[in-house]
């Protein structure tokens, strides 16, 4: 019995760590999609920018705190760059441009070896308080730190959404013509939402880098973006609570399927594909029959034009 507990505890810690990173990553997307109605299919790009910037700043001698801030700021800045050509136009242009950007960025990370070490990835950067915390307790420490960050991000977002600024965002999502008739600069509000959402993804990127202590371009494949989409839609669009629950449910599902794969007659390759087929089907079925998600409110849905 004791042995099981010894095995189970690190396992649960891992799931919770991954869930908290995904939760923050998805909260950024929920601000963009759930509260503003923006379709960002390249959210993973901002995760990558956050992770790489943090790590590279740290490797060139900056303190961790400055490096993380740099990662967050740069992610937000790229959100601005992508928003400018697209947010004045129909919502689908943002989807196309962001998904293209996330793939182009991955190519750059793979090919500019002088900057990113390409496919070899980067390791050997600092982790928060790594000299102080004993190694066997490090993940527990990280989990406490990440849960604290999650709580801060959650409450900051809740306050933001209940503020007048947040009400304007929702009004744009419901009917942009009404908001612009009331004198609100729709484009600027959307741009701010995209910047903040991207900056939050950048923070999640830094957290991911500290947790896995090694990053390479293939950590940031487009599928990560759709993991976040599934999490939001599962949890309920425009519900921050739902997003956190969704992240926990989804990450548990992912790691449990890693065990059950032993009972299915598939190769590792097929198992990976099978999991993605399930994710795709889940997206289709949820969007067709329960677009407000499991915990979402139907009135809060950005889907009625």
């Amino acid at each position: 019995m004791i042995e099981y507990v010894d095995m189970l505890l690190p396992y649960i810690t891992t799931i919770l760590l991954i869930s908290s990173i995904y939760a923050i990553f998805s909260l950024g997307l929920n601000l963009e999609w759930g509260f503003t109605g923006l379709i960002n299919f390249g959210h993973v790009a901002f995760l990558a920018i956050g992770a790489y910037t943090t790590v590279m700043f740290n490797m060139s001698g900056f303190s961790l705190f400055v490096s993380v801030i740099a990662g967050i700021v740069l992610s937000g800045f790229f959100g601005l760059l992508l928003g400018i050509p697209t947010l004045r136009l129909r919502e689908d242009y943002l989807a196309i441009v962001t998904i293209g950007f996330s793939e182009v960025l991955r190519f750059i990370l793979l090919n500019e070896q002088w900057l990113t070490r390409g496919p070899f990835g980067i390791h050997g950067f600092d982790r928060p308080l790594q000299d102080v915390i004993p190694y066997q307790y490090y993940n527990t420490f990280l989990l406490i730190l990440y849960l604290m960050i999650l709580v801060i991000v959650y409450f900051a977002l809740e306050r933001l959404i209940r503020s007048p600024w947040g009400r304007v965002l929702k009004s744009i999502r419901e009917d942009e013509e009404v908001s612009s008739a009331l004198g609100k600069n729709v484009f600027w509000y959307r741009l701010q939402s995209l910047m903040i959402g991207s900056a939050i993804a950048g923070l999640a990127g830094a957290m991911l880098a500290f947790y896995i202590s090694y990053i390479d371009p293939n950590t940031f494949k487009p599928i990560e973006t759709f993991h976040a989409w599934i999490i939001i839609i599962l949890g309920g669009t425009a519900s921050n609570k739902g997003t956190i629950v969704g992240a926990l449910v989804f990450c548990t599902f992912l790691s449990v399927t890693q065990f059950t794969s032993r009972f299915l007659p598939f190769t590792a390759h097929q198992m990976g594909a099978f999991r993605m087929i399930v994710i795709g089907l889940l997206l289709i079925i949820l969007m067709m029959h329960k677009p407000e998600g499991i915990f979402g409110k139907k009135e809060e849905l950005a889907l009625s034009d």
Binding site: G37, I39, F41, I84, P85, T86, L89, E91, D92, Y93, A95, I96, V97, I99, G100, F101, E103, V104, F107, I108, L110, N111, I223, F226, W229, I233, H269, Q270, G272, A273, F274, M276, I277, I279, G280, L281, L282, L283, I284, M287, M288, P291, A302, L303, S304, D305
Partner: protein, 284 residues
């Protein structure tokens, strides 16, 4: 010269596959992110008919087009038509299409694995042409693309169904009150659009390796062609496709080949910034 030839070949593939994307975009008013995966699906069906069943590539070509169209009609009946009746917004449709893209691509990986394949056809020597080497397959691609575009032109301008398709993409409500059977015409739009995409996919397999993600990587150049040509304008899309294909290949003269893909992204972003209604399209 070599780069120009390569660019024309890849450009004509982008052109014929992107026409369907453009037509669906305009008529049904949403971006079909699964379009590229239909292209790959067709290449794999042709591969299966050719390499596993031992069919001649020409008949495999027809089988692939037929299978893709059947799949497309199935999706229209099961997903798109019910969603239209529910008055689903285009953001819902876009997210569904992403889900469909994941399902299609990973089904290909599940069945055939992730490695690259090739058709079972004899390798023939290329011939010299003004200092460039042209493979017979490349000629085949350009000629087929030309025939397909010509056939499409006749269809759109001469037949009743072609005129209905154009009317629908102009104004769906106007088309409906003038007595056009909208659902039937939408079905035809899928048939023609996906038929062309499938043809493009089989041809693409002739000049490149067949991989499950071949269609996914074609998606961005296709979008670029659609936006360059003006959404819903088949002739603009064809021109856009050729331009994108040429600029991708010519870029390799100055940039590493890995960045071919980035070229269409840059072109597309510039068009969106400067002239979002498309270069060849006129105001829409």
């Amino acid at each position: 010269m070599q780069l120009v030839i390569n660019g024309l070949v890849i450009g004509s593939i982008i052109a014929i596959t992107a026409i369907g994307l453009s037509m669906i975009y305009k008529t049904l008013n949403f971006v079909n992110f699964a379009h590229g995966d239909f292209v790959a699906f067709a290449a794999y069906i042709a591969l299966f008919a050719n390499a596993s069943l031992g069919m001649h590539l020409a008949s495999a070509f027809l089988v692939a087009i037929l299978a893709t169209i059947v799949l497309g009609i199935f999706m229209e009946k099961v997903v798109w038509h019910p969603m239209r009746r529910k008055n689903a917004s285009r953001t819902t449709l876009i997210i569904i299409s992403i889900g469909l893209a994941l399902v299609l691509r990973n089904t290909l990986i599940f069945i055939w694995g992730g490695s690259t394949r090739n058709y079972n056809i004899p390798v023939r020597r290329g011939f010299e042409f003004f200092g460039a080497t042209i493979a017979p397959n490349q000629v085949l691609v350009i000629i087929s693309a030309f025939i397909l575009v010509f056939a499409l032109h006749c269809l759109l301008s001469r037949t009743k169904i072609g005129k209905s398709i154009r009317a629908l993409s102009d104004n769906i409500d106007l088309a409906r009150i003038s007595g056009i059977d909208v659902d039937r015409v939408i079905l035809w739009t899928w048939v023609i659009g996906l038929g062309l995409a499938a043809a493009g996919g089989v041809l693409y397999g002739l000049v490149t390796a067949i991989r499950p993600d071949m269609g996914w990587y074609l998606l961005l150049p296709m979008f670029a062609a659609v936006i360059l040509g003006g959404i819903g304008n088949p002739y603009g899309t064809i021109a856009g496709g050729i331009v994108i294909g040429l600029s991708q290949e010519l870029s390799t003269a100055i940039l590493p080949t890995e960045y071919k893909f980035a070229v269409s992204f840059v072109v597309m972003t510039l068009v969106l910034l400067l002239k979002p209604e498309g270069i060849f399209g006129g105001a829409k």
